[in-house]
Symmetry: C2
Subunit: 429 residues, 2 copies
């Protein structure tokens, strides 16, 4: 299967490569050719002689898909159910009791609902920490979404044996779906559990991901408990020996950042969720100054409440400008790099971070024929400062077009997803 | 001309009226009937017996259009031209020199470009402070946009005579367009000029609108200059004797708010612009506590850079939650009221603030068949916390459908607007 995307503007997200006019050819799930009309010396790969599908991009922009580097997709069940609460009330009183009633099949459908929204927002991969990984695996495979599941292990479950079994069983059996080692958070694990997790990651030389320093209270309570920050505690237990990253990181201090730099950790920021729950504004400029890679996540649809990468991208820069009291803080191209490139790294993927021959065909098309993209003075600034979901003209994952011109692929039964999710939500309410 | 919008959920924005299933009938530019299928006693107005157009709303939501209560529409020319600068550098070095080269015809086309974007975002009226009101008048009338122009008088122009002439000539000759008294800002007017404006508003008993206390510097320099805040200065000159409102109001203090309460002034907040220019976060909860009406504006597309009311609505609540360190601050219904109802008041309109018989037919339809609106647990929270432009299924202004299902009305030449605006932008660059 070979698809030709011609008459495009290509924003490859390869360092220092300017946007150029050209075309991309995709064979099966990979990019096999990128060409420049005017200058053949800039073409790379081998041109196909015939195509199964040819798409005229009409001068619109192709770029690598956005990577939602932290989410809980299945929490669509709780969208607009329990807003305007603080994080601990919301989790303990509203979410945990309902999650206790959720089945694997519920998670399967609720995850697919989130995936529909990802397509409309140009998200081509997600790092999903949620219940019942086996049914998330099935949902992702069937739907065609690239998903790195992340274990949310904590003292209430699952066991370490289950985590290890999932790590072995769910990796390597799909080119779309994988499973990463993770724990929910310092405050939901005791020290013994964290020590056992450390043994496990040393056994597999695996990077680790976790929620960390999301709220001031949580950060300070860890200091009271252990005499050190969550970041330092994890470091003292060897949990960062193989890298990984932290979700939120709103309250990390300079010493935490030094550890992150030393261990090659990433910070995955969730600006809408942190704002809506009044957790605070993450110090993005500081992370960047220290040379720490920043990626972006939507967090779950229950705390956000939407899964809109344009809103997240604007918030990353807008909140940084407010926090730093500096309108020059974190410019548009830096934010696009977080969304397309760093996000891939923060889910331990390397083949979907840029548009280049040999890379996976996770490609989106930005519609320049919408009024918010006009005039065309600076495309990256237009995308980050002015873009919206209405600009997503196409979302391709692993070489397959799953969303185009406002319509989902025929392989997806949208009505079934909507109806099942309404049913499930009623039952859980 | 009678249009029937049936099979809808109606969110009238009348105080204490819950959302209900029903239909709306529009004759010419007004709502003539609102009916409830299940309960005829809840129907108001007279049913038409035949229709020129019947639209099945398929269970989607009808509500009053969003009111963009502060903007500079014609600044589309400068979108993504000069970002990441502080307000004074941006205005003095990038914007003012280019605006000096703009013609009335330029403003005509650039305004229409903004209007296209308003339609995609459910905006049915705007309060537009910009150059060449005569050509904005023409653009609004031709396009079909409801627009209250606001004079941006300052010491560089125009003269007071021109303001007075425009006030008399541009009011009362269109049911779509009007002209309000305004000055650009304290810092661009001297005291003598403000005194003359005061005489003029007393002559016409006219409310006054102005940019005020947008940046800390501007607020403090006024105190240095006059020994009082901009709000107190204007009050001392009698400029608030007939009401009106202020744009931005990021740095107003308690005493300023007391004046606003006493004079019945509104605050029009512009959260995206204030964040992007690092001007700060307006104290929205405080305004609400004092009983001051809050409305919302996008500000111009050069400082924002988009004209997306969903982004603004989310920012109003998200930034309030951060500023107050309280996730309960400013809930969704409060924000919807700002967008639909208070915005009308803040542009001195009363007949387009709600869906009721006799009101103007400025109506939008929210598409619930998008994944970000599912499940349907709480519609107002879905709109404010999860909504995006992709949810705008229809925008009707003054009884005319100008945007539906992603397409602009045939009465609008979209290509001509795009092409003209690219030309103009090249010349001004």
């Amino acid at each position: 299967m070979t698809t030709r995307l011609y008459n495009a503007k290509i924003l490859s997200m390869i360092d220092n490569q300017d946007i150029f006019d050209g075309e991309i050819q995709v064979t099966d799930n990979k990019i096999t050719y990128i060409g420049n009309y005017a200058d053949d010396s800039k073409s790379v790969g081998s041109k196909a002689s015939s195509f199964d599908k040819e798409i005229d991009c009409e001068g619109n922009v192709l770029l690598p898909g956005f990577k939602n580097a932290h989410t809980h997709s299945g929490m669509t069940a709780f969208r607009s159910l329990a807003d305007d609460l603080n994080l601990q009330d919301w989790l303990n009183n509203e979410i945990f009791p309902r999650e206790a009633k959720m089945t694997a099949e519920d998670v399967y459908w609720l995850t697919k609902l989130a995936y529909l929204e990802y397509l409309t927002s140009g998200i081509t991969a997600c790092a999903d920490m949620y219940l019942t990984p086996e049914s998330i695996f099935d949902a992702s495979e069937e739907f065609g979404m690239r998903c790195q599941m992340v274990s949310g292990l904590n003292k209430f479950g699952p066991t370490l044996e289950v985590l290890e079994r999932r790590y072995n069983e769910l990796n390597g059996k799909s080119d779309l779906v994988g499973f990463l080692m993770g724990v929910h958070a310092e405050y939901t694990c005791d020290k013994e559990l964290l020590e056992s997790v450390s043994e496990l990651i040393h056994k597999y030389k695996a990077p680790l991901y976790t929620h960390m320093s999301e709220t001031k209270t949580e950060h300070e309570e860890c200091i009271k408990r252990y005499g050190m920050t969550p970041m330092a505690l994890f470091d003292s237990l060897g949990l960062w020996d193989f890298g990984g990253g932290i979700y939120h990181g709103v309250w990390c201090d300079d010493a935490d950042m030094e550890i992150m730099k030393k261990r090659g950790l990433r910070i995955i920021t969730n600006p809408a969720s942190n704002a809506k729950l009044a957790s605070g504004i993450a110090p993005i400029s500081k992370y960047l100054e220290k040379g720490i890679e920043v990626a972006i996540g939507t967090d779950g649809p229950s705390s956000n409440n939407c899964l809109d990468f344009f809103r997240e991208m604007f918030l990353v820069t807008a909140l940084a400008k407010i926090k730093d009291n500096d309108p020059k803080a974190v410019d548009a191209m830096e934010v696009l790099k977080m969304a397309c490139v760093n996000g891939a790294h923060a889910m331990e993927l390397v083949d979907n971070d840029a548009l280049a021959v040999g890379k996976l065909a996770d490609i989106i098309m930005i519609d320049l024929y919408q009024p918010n993209m006009r005039p065309i003075l600076n495309i990256s600034k237009n995308i980050v400062y002015s873009g919206s979901k209405t600009n997503i003209k196409m979302t391709m994952i692993n070489g397959k077009i799953l969303f185009k011109d406002g319509r989902f692929s025929d392989t997806i039964d949208v009505d079934a997803i909507y109806n099942k999710c309404e049913e499930i939500t009623k039952r859980l309410r």
